[in-house]
Point group: C2
Chain length 340, copies 2
DNA sequence: CTGAAAGCGCTAACAT
DNA sequence: ATGTTAGCGCTTTCAG
């Protein structure tokens, strides 16, 4: 069961291990006949050089560490697919960890990744989405980034200058809210998100600003952050429906809450979009398969993943990179919104 | 930027590297004062032992390689979450690869995983779902499994005795079809899947058998395998709707095709389940959020992932394991099916 | 074109 | 309780 090593090959070929290494890496000329013999042996034993030994020497692993908060939220697999695509171009693989928003797990994984000497880290979710991140959590990440190239995706750490890649959520929110306004809606609600997270507070800020700029007044009771799940969307919509005055449209912080909202409304007997317009955010694959198809803002998840890896690779090559690489979101108009 | 090593710590603490190693691994008694000093230094420099060096010596990596065919199909992230959960218990991380059903990519990743000396491999999708797998693809996997503990999830390789973990799809299919029959349906269609894949041909076989056992006749024109996507479900439903005689219920090979089927039917003006019952397979998270909520068969994806890792760990410990560990699927009755 | 030897960072005997 | 030493499997000078 012990794997074949370069020594085994060398011995059987009657050459030194250096020669075997040379044909393996094509790093110096080797006589045709010996090369042939060695290659034959490699074939025969299905020899694969030990990446740990090589990595120890070259001080690189070919592994990118990826930290995501929630694999079961389809947005992240989408990003991962982009990461994978781009990583594969350069022969990198990735070590994945799912932190389910648990800061201790984040720390643990960060530590494991350092031990494993991953070539770079892509960090999503958790602490980098907090409005106020505890100092020691922030420091840990800064520490880590000082020794391993690290990029933060769709998040950041105030007061640090860690490299970021993010979709411009503010622009996306403006797009969505403006869309609703353009459709003639003047009574608009806000559903989902957690108020202590930057993504939510940003969206809420832009939501307010966009309405105010158009001279619309904000109805505080229609602002219903809570969390990011489908159930959360449902619950908040239920609250809205229970009010005597309801908005004619709602902006949801993500597609999950939008789906929940639509579901609750539908179950309550409303028809979306006839009775109420709903727009989501993210454009998860399901958005255009849901009934009704969801009007939403595309974060270009796949592109986001690819971009993150590109930036990371640049960092690994010690190239200079921008502090923030920003992706433009796009409004995707489908069926869940319509003229008032 | 060079990482701190055990030598650096040893030198600064005025001890030998062995002593440092001892406190690191708690492998032998060390005097309190020296231990304290060393620990302080470790803290100070945030020293993390190099996993490659350690792995080279111990001949293990703490990494499990996971090969999945399609990350964007929510079934797999669900399995992965289970894998992760179980792997973490024993301090394992996982290297992920997405093969999008490309056999060449599978080979490539298999090879990378061997180079990286992962402790075990979990293989899903692709070649192990083929009714007729090309010999060299099969051999490659057998080869690989002979040197690295490997478990095949929801698939197998005829003629080999590779270890498998799988949900009992036949039982699941019988459950679903029987459910439809119990509801009084006598005209049942079959949608989705690829006929050259074992999963599909198994489902189709059981579908036929269950109907036949109940004395129902099979309408060949209502058997519409195609592929696994939402669009495929849509297209096949469209075909069904275009026929002059339609079934009153359909069994779909997975939730994606079921969603597509429902969508097409809804757009065509039918109401599900009033006008037609639809049952899916997998129970992806979305199944109970879709409108109408999907009646489906749960594969217990999370459990599947956990079980795969458990079996893998047993193999890594050289314990004896069953050739096939089978999970019982469960019928989940929701809104998309009803009495005829 | 090829071999010898050093060394990547660590663990595990073996000494002391 | 601690130090010395021999590797783990490979790449890379440095000599021939």
């Amino acid at each position: 069961m012990r794997q074949v090593t370069i020594y085994d090959i060398a011995k059987e070929a009657n050459v030194s291990i250096s020669t075997v290494s040379r044909v393996l890496n094509d790093t110096a000329p080797v006589k045709g006949s010996t090369r042939a013999k060695i290659e034959e042996l490699i074939q025969k034993y299905n020899f694969q050089p030990n990446a740990m030994a090589r990595g120890l020497l070259k001080n690189e692993t070919g592994i990118i560490g990826v930290i995501v908060p929630d694999l079961t939220n389809p947005f992240f697999p989408e990003v991962l697919a982009g990461v994978e695509h781009e990583a594969m171009q350069s022969g990198h693989t990735f070590l994945l960890s799912n932190t389910i928003g648990d800061y201790a797990k984040e720390s643990e994984y960060l530590s494991i990744m350092r031990e494993k000497r991953v070539d770079g880290i892509i960090f999503m979710g958790g602490r980098i989405n907090l409005k106020h991140c505890e100092e020691h959590l922030a420091q840990e990440l800064v520490q880590c980034a000082s020794v391993i190239p690290t990029v933060l995706v769709n998040g950041g750490l105030r007061g640090t200058d860690l490299i970021r890649v993010a979709t411009d959520e503010s622009a996306g929110t403006a797009l969505a809210v403006q869309h609703l306004i353009d459709l003639g809606h003047t009574e608009i609600g806000f559903i989902g998100g957690e108020i202590h997270m930057t993504t939510t507070s940003n969206k809420l800020r832009v939501f307010r600003k966009t309405l105010k700029d158009k001279g619309q007044k904000i109805r505080e009771e229609w602002l219903l952050p809570d969390s990011f799940s489908i159930d959360s969307g449902k619950n908040q919509m239920l609250k809205l429906l229970a009010m005597k005055e309801r908005p004619t449209a709602v902006f949801c912080v993500n597609d999950y809450t939008a789906i929940g909202a639509i579901k609750a409304a539908t179950e309550a007997g409303l028809t979306i979009p006839d009775d109420m317009s709903v727009v989501g955010f993210d454009d998860i694959p399901l958005a255009h398969h849901f009934i009704p198809e969801l009007t939403t803002v595309s974060q270009q998840a796949h592109e986001l993943g690819k971009t993150a890896v590109k930036v990371l690779k640049a960092m690994m090559n010690k190239e200079k990179v921008k502090k923030l690489t920003s992706l433009e979101p796009q409004l995707i108009i489908r069926q869940s919104s319509r003229r008032k």
